[in-house]
């Protein structure tokens, strides 16, 4: 079942003519000519679509929070600041099929009553920004953007805004600060963007993939979307697969397939690279808890784990994780968990905006202490120190970056504590190039 990527490999799909030949922009026509904005919102609510950037908040509900005071502009801002390590789905979608996003932007802006909308793209993707701007111009030329779209009386201007290289701007209030031309420091909430967002006006911020899915929902109805998937995990999800698999790439899956199928079937990752065994997976981008091979494939109850919000989080943080952004990083037995955790800790240390002390100081501490362990200078008390620092960051910051920094460290120790201990007790062995600890009896150990 493909919704977002059905035509992604059609030659020329980045041009509006080919896109329209393949059914593109039908949703704009249907929404604007035959539906009211509230009817579009109602279909999105019915679809059960949840925010695909990582938080998984029901999109229709988020839309329904939008304040609509008279005479005040409302804005839709697309969050295309994709920066969560392991995640490259929005990059892929926008690069290959920019009109898929633009069509969703028009439909969603119409539903929200926005007459100006922005797509905030991370600045490193300047080549994708160029692709989007070219596609937007095509849409203007066809009367799908601008004044009086398709003769309906509805006006919409759409602009692309580049970021400047800051992970934190993927947090919606930091993104709005950035779009206002400031440093990306997250705002205190409330007020929420739905009430006071961009330039203090009511604003909805949604992820690329979420917005792109609204066109299909308009065309086929919210019920049809909700019929895909399992329980509250409806529809399809783009999964960015990276690491030690045969076929890294972006895959659109119907939510509800098993993790095992996703990793091993030829339709998706194609299995672990030849001659190697699965050791660990980070299932939803660097911030979600890492799980060992056993925990990712099977829940505590002994059931096969599914690619859904609920199944991945089953067992809580003790044995579960999160679907997050769908950044699926696979590691085989050659992976040193301490080194991988160091790259994540370094990442969050680098990307902390510095506003809240627990995050600013704590991410630095975790980076330093893990580096000490990785380079063979660890002390026996360091592991508990890391757990303590992670605890003190979690829940104590304005935005979720603090949690995102704490979780991967805490989880790596929870599931691979022996590997950290080995680095501390066997520094000479552990610092040899390519040295990796083998847990006795583990399914990935020789």
């Amino acid at each position: 079942m493909k919704i977002l990527t059905q035509h992604i490999d059609v030659p020329g799909i980045e041009t509006i003519d080919v896109f329209m030949k393949n059914g593109g922009y039908k949703a704009v026509e249907k929404a604007i000519k035959t539906m009211t904005p509230d009817e579009v919102t109602e279909e999105v609510k019915k679809s059960g679509l949840r925010g695909r950037g990582g938080a998984g908040f029901p999109m229709g509900m988020k839309w329904s929070f939008l304040a609509k005071p008279e005479g005040v502009p409302r804005y839709l801002v697309c969050n295309a600041d994709e920066s969560e390590p392991g995640t490259f789905k929005d990059h892929y979608l926008m690069m290959k099929s920019p009109h898929t996003l633009i069509e969703g932007m028009i439909v969603s802006s119409f539903a929200l009553g926005a007459n100006t909308s922005y797509i905030y793209v991370r600045g490193e993707l300047m080549y994708v920004i160029n692709i989007l701007e070219k596609a937007i111009q095509e849409a203007y030329d066809k009367g799908l953007l601008g004044k009086n779209i398709l003769g309906s009386g509805y006006d919409l201007d759409l602009f692309v805004q580049p970021g400047g290289g800051a992970y934190i701007c993927g947090e919606e209030t930091a993104l709005l600060e950035s779009l206002e031309g400031k440093r990306g420091n997250p705002r205190n909430k409330p007020p929420f963007p739905a009430v006071k967002g961009l330039w203090q006006c009511p604003t909805v911020v949604n992820n690329v993939e979420s917005i792109a899915a609204t066109s299909w929902i308009v065309n086929n109805g919210g019920d049809a979307y909700a019929a895909i998937g399992v329980g509250r995990s409806t529809g399809t999800k783009l999964i960015s697969a990276s690491g030690h698999i045969k076929k890294p790439g972006v895959y659109e899956i119907p939510l509800g397939i098993t993790v095992e199928e996703f990793i091993y079937s030829d339709e998706y990752c194609g299995g672990i690279r030849d001659g190697h065994k699965l050791k660990a997976v980070v299932a939803g981008g660097s911030s979600v808890p890492i799980l060992s091979a056993d925990n990712i494939l099977t829940t505590d109850a002994g059931e096969k784990r599914l690619m859904t919000y609920e199944s991945l989080s089953e067992g809580g943080f003790a044995t579960g994780t999160m679907l997050g952004s769908g950044g699926f990083i696979v590691m085989d037995e050659t992976t040193c968990i301490v080194h991988n955790t160091l790259t994540f800790a370094r990442f969050y240390h680098h990307e902390s905006c510095g506003q809240c002390s627990p995050c600013r100081e704590g991410t630095g501490w975790m980076d330093k202490v893990i580096k000490r362990i990785e380079t063979g200078k660890g002390r026996s008390e360091d592991i508990d120190l890391l757990v303590d620092v992670a605890k003190k960051i979690e829940g104590n910051t304005i935005c979720p970056l603090g949690d995102a920094a704490a979780w991967p460290v805490a989880a790596a120790i929870r599931h691979f504590r022996d590997e950290f201990e080995w680095h501390i007790t066997h520094p000479e062995e552990a610092t040899k190039p390519g040295a990796v600890y083998m847990r006795p009896g583990a399914s990935w150990s020789n």
Binding site: P85, G86, D90, P162, G164, Y167, V282, I329, H339
Partner: protein
């Protein structure tokens, strides 16, 4: 440094960029203009940032604080080609560390340094959202993906011509 003025066509483009935002919200154009400035002058010197401030009728500090927050802006002079390699987990899993070591050896410089001939600067950056295509580095707008030592050599050879 008094010759810091954008070409006429860039100034036209800047007018269009400012028109994307409501009246008096022209400060939103800082990031787009800083990107244009860096493309023009390679790095964001204090004089360049002051010039950006005058274009937007804002105080220079408003540009400095933004330029220093976002990692894409070079606040020191850089070489002709800035190679920004991704050092985050997924690229490392794909052999990034070895490839980047080769890059440094090949150019004879460390991260953050510029070759003596001013041709290359190496910087390490965080995740470039290309994890399935790693190891990755970026030179200006171009992503170079699935890097190997041989591929790095080819790219450096090409740019050295």
């Amino acid at each position: 440094m008094s010759n810091i003025v954008f070409p006429a066509e860039t100034l036209d483009l800047i007018k269009k960029i400012i028109a994307r935002y409501p009246d008096e919200k022209q400060k939103s154009a800082i990031l787009p203009i800083l990107h244009l400035a860096q493309a023009e002058w390679k790095w964001c010197s204090p004089a360049v940032m002051d010039y950006v401030a005058t274009l937007l009728s804002i105080s220079p500090i408003e540009v400095y604080e933004v330029a220093s927050f976002y990692t894409m802006f070079h606040l020191e002079p850089v070489g002709e080609h800035v190679i920004e390699y991704c050092r985050t987990g997924p690229c490392c899993l794909m052999g990034g560390v070895e490839v980047y070591d080769h890059l440094k050896k090949r150019l004879g410089i460390q991260t953050g340094e510029t070759t003596k001939d001013g041709k290359f600067t190496i910087k390490e950056v965080e995740c470039l959202a290309a994890c399935g295509w790693g190891p990755v580095f970026q030179i200006r707008e171009k992503y170079h993906m699935h890097l190997t030592n041989e591929k790095v050599d080819e790219i450096i050879d090409e740019l050295s011509k």
